[in-house]
């Protein structure tokens, strides 16, 4: 829980970054149509970015005035390794999703993350990941018909083959 009377590590930098972002976006909004007319396409974006700039500016001033600090560190509490690694793994997942396909990428992602978080043996992590993935696949791919990249797994052919198998059985 955030204590508004105490400053967290990185809070001033974050507040300053928001001011910078708001200023940049206000400048961009001004570039849309300037002060051409109150009903111009740029009027609303300018009002909104102005509100962002003013609010973030006051927040920055208030943050600068805070002297009490929370007894925590940036890389130990705000962005500890577990969060950074999980985020990097999600990025990796997004990168590999298209070339390798949903099934292998998801299995790799789940196994590694469960193993990393649980530290209970690779085989156990693989087993639980395989089971979870099978459940996710069944619910979302088969029941909800969500399309996912098949990548290196000839998923369409396997599903068609399974479909034929069942339709063949019913035909007989």
């Amino acid at each position: 829980m955030h204590d508004p009377t105490k400053k967290k590590p990185g809070e001033t930098a974050f507040a300053a970054a928001l001011v910078g972002l708001s200023g940049f976006l206000l400048w961009q909004a001004w570039g849309i149509a300037g002060f051409e007319a109150l009903s111009s396409p740029g009027a609303f974006p300018m009002a909104v970015t102005f509100a962002m700039l003013v609010s973030s500016g006051v927040i920055l001033l208030k943050t600068l005035r805070l002297t009490a600090r929370e007894p925590v560190g940036f890389f130990s509490d705000i962005a500890p390794p577990v969060i950074l690694i999980m985020f990097a793994m999600m990025l990796g997942y997004a990168l590999l999703l298209k070339p390798f396909g949903f099934l292998p990428t998801s299995l790799l992602f789940l196994t590694l993350s469960v193993f990393g978080l649980r530290r209970r043996g690779l085989l156990w992590s693989f087993g639980i990941s395989l089971f979870s993935l099978a459940l996710v696949y069944l619910i979302f791919r088969i029941v909800f018909s969500v399309l996912m990249p098949s990548g290196i797994v000839p998923e369409g052919e396997i599903l068609a083959w399974l479909g034929n198998l069942f339709s063949g059985e019913t035909a007989q």
Partner: protein, 507 residues
């Protein structure tokens, strides 16, 4: 009337739709009951899978998740003192002391039945009031819509967060995200930086899953080592006597719930807290003092937060203005399904309104059934280790963001908003106003331009129009009051009043 009844019961007699309402309610209850997983997260991730569906099945799932999720949050509030959803904060005040006394089953049973009662009253008011509200809404001027939407964002920003300033920033940021892309009126590029892919704007789903799915899951990684708490729950079906005893109170608190829920920007959390306060004032001699396991303290918030669900659908369906983050997400989903919530929805597609109302009733019934059964399964799911659960949520977030447009760019946007949302939450900003801003951006922009064009580009004329129309004036005063309520003048007066009251009580 017969037509309305037909639409009302569509989901009742279609096994697929019936099953989807049941599935949604079940998922809502269980996701809501897992500490750290909110109903907003469940709705945002699961809704993304329904965009390829027809609108009826999608609505069934959404309605079920919402109704179930609001109720599910009370479970962990009672058992662990960790509200599963903001609307269950007040439930923990007396629910947890009851559990500590070994009355967890009794508390869960009572809260389930009372949520059911509250839910029904909320839906009843929705069915009766919405047609009138939408007729009244037809008289709204563009400036009224603009003011109402601003009021909604400010209310969410000021009531849910630690400071109005942070709420204003978050709401404005949402409005800005909603403005990215080609201007709908002139097709001029706004914040596209010359990138053609941005012409259509930033995917609402990517923003939503990033802010509510990924950032919440990342926050939960802080508590990854906490062991799952073993649950012990006895008999949960409450006695008729207990239900009968608290029925008058539950009707009163349901009324509070439905009114608060119907106000744009205020949802189940505020309704529950106000109902709790009401119960405290009207119950002169509770069997057990409030805060120590008073059943009145459990009944009041639980009826109110479920009554607020029906209430929240009133501005959502009649004005197109969401009451909270969940209804904002549902509005976004309705847009994607080609529906346009607002007064015209009731006129052009009344079947949608009656269908939703019918599905809500079903969800409420399923909530009662699932709430009073399946305790063994419940304990198993709640005890599921976070080390498996969080990677699964992250996986579903990616799949959900990808599935809507089959676009990996949406996944990158989602990750960006996930990281940003994590930092916002860490430093005390609320992400609810962001999503409300994204949804309301177009409504405010278009209505502002309509208003100012009809007033010949004159701010003076616009202001005159506002002060001479009672509705516009009330809305403007409400907006101004939110800012005034943050000034030292108002907070000082409140503090002095509270001190006076305390000294009066002391005497």
């Amino acid at each position: 009337m017969i037509e309305a009844l037909q639409y009302f019961t569509i989901a009742w007699f279609d096994p697929k739709l019936l099953g989807l309402v049941a599935l949604g309610t079940f998922a809502g209850i269980y996701v809501g009951a897992i500490p750290g997983l909110s109903v907003t997260m469940a709705v945002s991730i699961l809704i993304s899978f329904t965009f390829a569906w027809d609108v009826y099945p999608a609505l069934c799932l959404m309605v079920g998740i919402y109704m179930g999720g609001v109720y599910g949050g009370s479970r962990t509030a009672i058992l662990l003192n960790i509200p599963g959803a903001p609307s269950a904060i007040a439930t923990a005040l007396d629910g947890y002391p009851l559990a500590q006394k070994g009355k967890a089953g009794e508390a869960i049973g009572l809260s389930t039945v009372m949520s059911f009662v509250g839910g029904f009253i909320g839906i009843g008011v929705l069915a009766l009031a919405a047609p009138f509200v939408s007729e009244f809404a037809l008289t709204f001027q563009p400036r009224d819509y603009m003011l109402l939407a601003i009021l909604g964002i400010l209310l969410v920003g000021s009531l849910s967060g630690e400071s109005l300033l942070k709420g204003v920033f978050a709401g404005s940021l949402g409005l800005l995200i909603g403005a990215v892309g080609l201007d709908p009126l002139t097709a001029q590029e706004r914040f596209t930086f010359g990138v053609v892919e941005l012409w259509g704007g930033i995917s609402f789903i990517a923003v939503m899953i990033g802010l509510f799915g990924v950032s919440e899951a990342l926050m939960q990684l802080h508590h990854i080592d906490k062991a799952a708490v073993k649950q012990t729950i006895g008999r949960i079906v409450p006695s008729w006597g207990a239900i009968w005893k608290y029925l008058p109170l539950s009707i009163q608190t349901s009324s509070i719930g439905v009114i608060i829920g119907a106000l744009p920007g205020t949802g189940g959390d505020i309704a529950a807290l106000m109902a709790y306060d009401h119960a405290k004032r009207v119950t002169k001699s509770p069997d057990v003092p409030f805060g120590q396991g008073a059943q009145e303290g459990l009944v009041a918030p639980e009826t109110a937060n479920n009554a607020a669900v029906g209430g929240a659908f009133i501005p959502m369906l009649t004005l197109g203005i969401p009451g909270d983050a969940v209804t904002a997400i549902i509005i976004g989903a309705l847009f994607i399904h080609g529906l346009n919530p607002g007064p015209m929805l009731m006129i052009e597609q009344p079947q949608m309104f009656w269908f939703i109302t019918g599905a809500l009733v079903l969800a409420n019934i399923f909530m009662l059934i699932f709430g009073l059964t399946g305790i063994r399964l419940f304990t198993k799911i709640v005890e599921m280790p976070r080390t498996v659960l969080i990677p699964l949520i992250l996986l579903l977030s990616i799949v959900g963001a990808y599935a809507v447009n089959n676009s990996i760019t949406d996944v990158y946007w989602m990750l960006l908003f996930g990281a940003f949302g994590y930092l916002l939450k860490t430093y005390g900003y609320q992400v609810g106003p962001v999503i409300l801003g994204v949804i309301l951006s177009r409504l405010i922009d278009e209505n502002w331009r309509r208003a100012i064009i009809s007033d010949q580009e004159s701010l003076g004329l616009l202001l005159r129009g506002i002060v001479t129309s009672p509705l516009s004036l009330v809305l403007l005063l409400a907006v101004l009051f939110i800012f005034f309520s943050q000034t030292p003048l108002w907070t000082g007066w409140r503090a002095r009043r509270a001190a006076l009251r305390a000294s009066g009580d002391g005497i």
